[in-house]
Amino acid sequence: MRTEDLIASLSADLKPLARHAVAGRLALGVGMGGALALVLLLFWLGLRPDIAPAAASSMFWMKLAFTFSVALAALVVVERLARPGAGIGRFWWCVAAPVLIVAMMGAAQLSMAPAGARGAMWLGQSAAQCPVRIVALATPVYVGLVWAFRRLAPTRLRLAGFGAGIMAGAVGATVYALYCTEDAAAFLATWYTLGILASGAIGALFGPRQLRW
């Protein structure tokens, strides 16, 4: 095909584009993936049985605020990774900041707890299941992001995969927080973070293959 013909056919049916189209498309992918993760949670684990009284506790909202702010910061990073020639650098700190804050809160809680209770507080009832479930709930969100990336242009695929994995993990963790009954900040800082990081690692592993264009 001659290049002139190609150009003519490309400009034939041109539609105007919205200004924040990239963030919009990513949000759409995450939204659909997140909705799917919520459905998955309802059929698989259900909501925590004490959801109504828990909604009055500050720790319930703390958990959601933690995972949601990680997801929001990751959206900023992923949006930049999706655009050729956009640097990220310091934006990773926005993703790490909520983790650091919760880790400090956890350390403070642990130091105030009696020495014998610290281990139980840190491990809670579900330390072993928590990261695995977060990764499972992150999967539909990651798929939604891969779909969103099909019209975007990441040039560093492994990094983009990692960012998408972190974001999917954070959304998965947000959904999981509707089931999880753990209340210690140290638990959150360790096991939630581990699940989100594992999701990021899986994203980095598959990114180069799935995000190619």
Binding site: T3, L6, L10, S11, L14, P84, G85, L152, T155
Partner: protein, 172 residues
């Protein structure tokens, strides 16, 4: 670019034409002006610029964005090509087209095919068709006469073609 984003087809068309020239220069500097797949890459990048134009921010400079895409496409292209021909081998393309053999395996197949030829014919084809020397240079290097080189190429290619059509690369 901005008018194109707003849906102005004429402006978009003008932009893509302009970028085609820009990209041709970009790839020519990196791959050599005669690279066989230069125009393919230009077209591929133009399609990417078009379908992924939402990743352009209005307050951004145009060329860094385009070049970032072009660089990505070049790296991707080279990565794909690593298992393929590493030099521009005309003979390999001839062979590949004659049998619709995938270009991906042409380089390796050519070596195996050529191993079956007499040394003089093999040298003649390697120097002229693979390395791109002139007949005179090939004659000098292999110690054969110019007409011997020409005949060697002709006969050698004929044997290669026959073998490829027969589909028996290993039948020596």
């Amino acid at each position: 670019m901005l008018r194109g984003l707003d849906g102005d087809a004429g402006a978009h068309r003008e932009l893509l034409g302009h970028l085609a020239t820009l990209l041709r220069g970009f790839y020519a500097r990196r791959m050599g002006r005669e690279a066989v797949d230069l125009e393919d890459l230009v077209q591929e990048t133009l399609v990417a610029v078009h379908t992924r134009r939402m990743t352009f921010r209005r307050d951004q400079l145009l060329t860094p964005w385009v070049y970032a895409m072009a660089r990505y496409k070049l790296i991707d292209h080279q990565r794909r090509g690593r298992h393929r021909v590493t030099e521009p081998i005309e003979a390999a393309y001839d062979v590949a087209e004659a049998d619709a053999t995938e270009a991906a395996t042409a380089g390796a197949d050519l070596d195996r095919l050529m191993a079956a030829l007499p040394a003089k014919q093999r040298d003649a084809i390697r120097f002229v068709k693979v390395q791109g020397l002139s007949v005179a240079e090939a004659a000098l290097r292999s110690g054969q006469s110019e007409s011997a080189i020409k005949v060697g190429i002709h006969r050698g290619l004929k044997v290669l073609m026959a073998r490829v059509r027969g589909g028996s690369i290993d039948a020596d």
